[in-house]
């Protein structure tokens, strides 16, 4: 059928739906729903990791294979450093920029290396906002509780407490750098309510929150003259032979040469895994989200936490084809947008946590109440025109300019027509286990941002990622810089790689897979 004909049911049922209230699930119903429909519970997609720090733990097959993968570096590689620094930051997204700026600000000689350009990351795409408890009726404690509920009570309490308590001073830092958060008439920060939160707590820059923060942080990294190595993909970490991290080897993607960097501390801020397309899901992630940091840290002996859980953002575009997987911001639901099945019915409280909403959408589609596309995808409607009906004409255009433009390019006006959506692989809930200084169990190896694990439990609450990046970027940068004064550069060896290879051999691993992946293989071969 013509898409407009299929959309009629959404227009027809709009007024009736506006009078409806959909209660949130009880904890028991919620668990049942998730166990039945959430991709994290599809047993066939998982297998135990064969060896290494997380031996026996289950994760998705795609990630397990990469974690067990071999290094591209030979045992006898030349390890003469081309660069030497106090703090080496790997990754140029939000966590990497925050880490580099704080390390540099504390007087450390800092290098920021990234496999694409400075700022090419998921951070730049964050639309929904940043959770910080600034409203009078809110508090860091309430932020803590909301996050814990969202994470199924499995969040690391110590990490979570420092995140919610550091939040307000992070907002101040960003404001001082010139970030233009939305304001109330009285000059205070405007806060929006996010899915799974009991209080309005999202700081936003219209629907360009990540872009605005990243424009400013990138500019600041350049203004501070922090040394950059762009198009440099980390392919191996270096150790002193006694378990401490002392640097990294990069592959320059322009000339394929290796670059060795000696560092007193290394901060891995390499982001997530969306481009592994686990379980065949499309992704909202950027081109380089291939889990490189996880592989590097794992080979060095760093323990991972919660690597069996991933976030499928409820609203990834399904139509048009060109936008498959692209995110339709949760902000639409925050402002009252309904999810509607093919029968014109709502089926979940749209502001429940992401895992619950995603599971509900999958349920509707598996039970035949979805709308299918001819490329074999299925989805439900997100009633975007409802926002104009509810809050006045022009609301969608004014509050979601990025979204409007993205669809307009393909001839779709989302203020007039609903959008077809289905969950898209969005975020790695777990990652390398860290302490409150963002350090791993490997000495002088820090991990910050999405690559780290523990903070978000089994499901990250909307808006907590941008804050995570800033808080743990800052903490890793300051701790690493603070240590630089009193320590000497350690030896550069590949002893950990030799040990890992021996371990792989012992377990009969001969997959031939080299990790990290660096970039997904999208180029069509012949």
């Amino acid at each position: 059928m013509d898409i407009h004909a299929l959309q009629q049911i959404v227009h027809k049922t709009r007024d009736a739906r506006r009078k409806q209230t959909i209660p949130k699930f009880s904890p028991a119903d919620r668990d049942q729903l998730i166990h039945k429909y959430h991709p994290d519970f599809r047993a066939s997609a998982y297998r135990p990791i064969k060896f290494g720090p997380n031996e026996g733990d289950k994760t998705v097959v795609e990630l397990a294979t990469l974690l067990e993968g071999d290094s591209s570096i030979q045992d006898n590689a030349d390890l003469t450093p081309q660069y030497t620094c106090d703090v080496l930051v790997i990754g140029g997204g939000g966590a990497g920029c925050a880490a580099a700026l704080h390390a540099h600000g504390a007087g450390a000689k800092t290098i920021l290396a990234t496999k694409l350009r400075l700022g090419d990351s998921n951070s730049v795409m964050a639309q929904g906002g940043m959770q910080i408890s600034v409203a009078p009726e809110d508090s860091p404690v309430t932020h803590f509780i909301d996050t814990l509920k969202g994470g199924h009570m499995e969040n690391d309490h110590a990490l979570l407490k420092v995140m919610v308590e550091d939040g307000p001073s992070i907002a101040k830092w960003l404001l001082e750098l010139g970030v233009l958060f939305d304001r109330q008439a009285d000059g205070n920060l405007h806060v929006k309510k996010g899915g799974g939160s009991s209080k309005p707590r999202l700081l936003t820059c219209s629907d360009y929150t990540g872009l605005e923060i990243m424009r400013v942080l990138k500019d600041e990294v350049i203004n501070q003259k922090i040394q950059l190595l762009e198009f440099a993909a980390a392919v191996e970490l270096l150790s002193d032979g006694q378990g401490a991290c002392t640097g990294a080897i990069f592959k320059d993607l322009d000339n394929q040469r290796h670059v060795v960097v000696a560092a007193k501390s290394v901060i891995v801020a390499t982001g997530g895994i969306g481009r592994l397309h686990i379980q065949g899901f499309p992704t909202s992630n950027h081109y380089g989200a291939t889990g490189d940091g996880l592989c590097l840290a794992y080979r060095m002996g760093a323990k991972l936490a919660h690597v069996d859980t991933f976030q499928y953002h409820p609203s990834g575009a399904v139509y048009p084809e060109q936008l498959i997987g692209a995110l339709v911001t949760e902000g639409i639901r925050s402002e009252g947008g309904h999810l509607v099945n093919a029968k014109g019915e709502r089926f979940v409280n749209e502001l429940d946590t992401r895992d619950v909403v995603s599971s509900s959408i999958i349920r509707e589609c598996e039970e035949g109440r979805g709308i299918r596309t001819m490329s074999g995808r299925v989805g439900v409607w997100l009633d975007t025109p409802l926002l104009d009906a509810e809050h006045g004409p022009g609301t969608v255009e004014k509050h979601f300019p990025a979204m409007m433009m993205q669809f307009e390019r393909f001839g779709i006006d989302i203020s007039k027509d609903p959008v077809l959506i289905y969950p898209t692989l969005h975020y790695q809930n777990g990652g390398v286990k860290i302490d409150t200084n963002s350090e791993t169990n490997v000495k002088n190896l820090f991990v910050a941002g999405e690559a780290s694990g523990g903070l978000h439990g089994r499901n990250r609450l909307m808006g907590n990622s941008l804050l995570d990046l800033m808080v743990f970027g800052k903490r890793s940068g300051l701790t690493a810089a603070g240590r630089a004064q009193s320590m000497k550069q350690g030896a550069l060896t590949l002893k950990h790689v030799q040990q890992f290879r021996a371990e792989a051999k012992k377990h009969g691993n001969a997959s031939g897979v080299i990790s990290p992946m660096i970039l997904p293989a999208y180029t069509r071969k012949a």
Partner: protein, 237 residues
């Protein structure tokens, strides 16, 4: 049931039987399926893209591209991840353009509106050709923004350029060698750091945390066992 399912399928003849179209990538003719994005067309043609792809979501500005449609003399701009190919289209990616970025300590500026002319002395030399506005894939009125910056209306500039993805396509076309995106970035940051109210509520909250006023509440929560904590969480709605 099957009947019902069939009714809920969106017509997409282009998906069922993709029409192949001939396009030109950097001057070379290739056949690709109609309607895929420009960046996918490059992958389809067997071209490895390292420089020129970033977020794939239309936000990072890495994939700035020049294109021309069939028989049209006008060369336009787009983000390669956000543009569908059509028959007869010709495109090439924009190489990194060596525009000059001024460096500054944003918080230490004494007179940001005057400093604009020291940092970017070319900014007031705009000759009104409007090429920058025409080059903007985000449809920002760039020329107007440059003039507003020069006249000190920093607030308007910061609002107009909230959509700016820093692709830099406004820079190579400028006959006065202005880099409008970089000017706007400076102006927006100055607006935020110097000309926007300090949020009082935020300072209050920071002080509350410094004074440890949540101490008792934390103590209570952090000593709860799993069950008590779950029960407590259930009361917060």
């Amino acid at each position: 049931m099957a009947q019902e399912l069939n009714e809920n399928v969106i017509d997409q003849p282009e998906v069922m039987k993709p029409r192949m179209v001939t396009i030109e990538i950097a001057g070379k003719k290739v056949d690709v399926p109609e309607g895929i994005t420009v960046v996918r067309a490059m992958w389809y043609a067997g071209i490895d893209v390292v420089r020129g792809v970033g977020c794939l979501g239309g936000f990072c500005g890495a994939c700035a591209t020049y294109y021309r449609t069939k028989d049209d003399p006008k060369v336009r701009t787009c983000l390669a991840c956000q543009m569908a190919v059509q028959d007869g289209m010709s495109f090439t990616m924009m190489p990194p353009f060596p525009a000059r970025k001024a460096t500054y300590e944003i918080q230490k500026l004494q007179d940001p509106k005057q400093d604009l002319f020291n940092l970017y002395p070319e900014a007031p030399l705009c000759r009104n050709c409007n090429a920058c506005t025409e080059a903007c894939p985000q449809k920002i009125d760039v020329r107007e923004g440059v003039w507003k910056a020069v006249f000190g209306d920093f607030k308007s500039v910061s609002e107009m350029f909230m959509d700016c993805v820093m692709c830099g396509m406004c820079t190579p076309v400028c006959i006065a060698d202005i880099a409008p995106n970089l000017v706007a970035l400076y102006v927006s940051r100055a607006q935020g750091a110097h000309f926007t109210d300090k949020p009082v509520g935020l300072d209050t909250r920071i002080k509350e945390i410094q004074d440890d006023i949540y101490k008792d509440e934390w103590a209570k929560i952090l000593k709860m066992n799993e069950k008590e904590l779950a029960e407590h969480c259930a009361t917060v709605k």
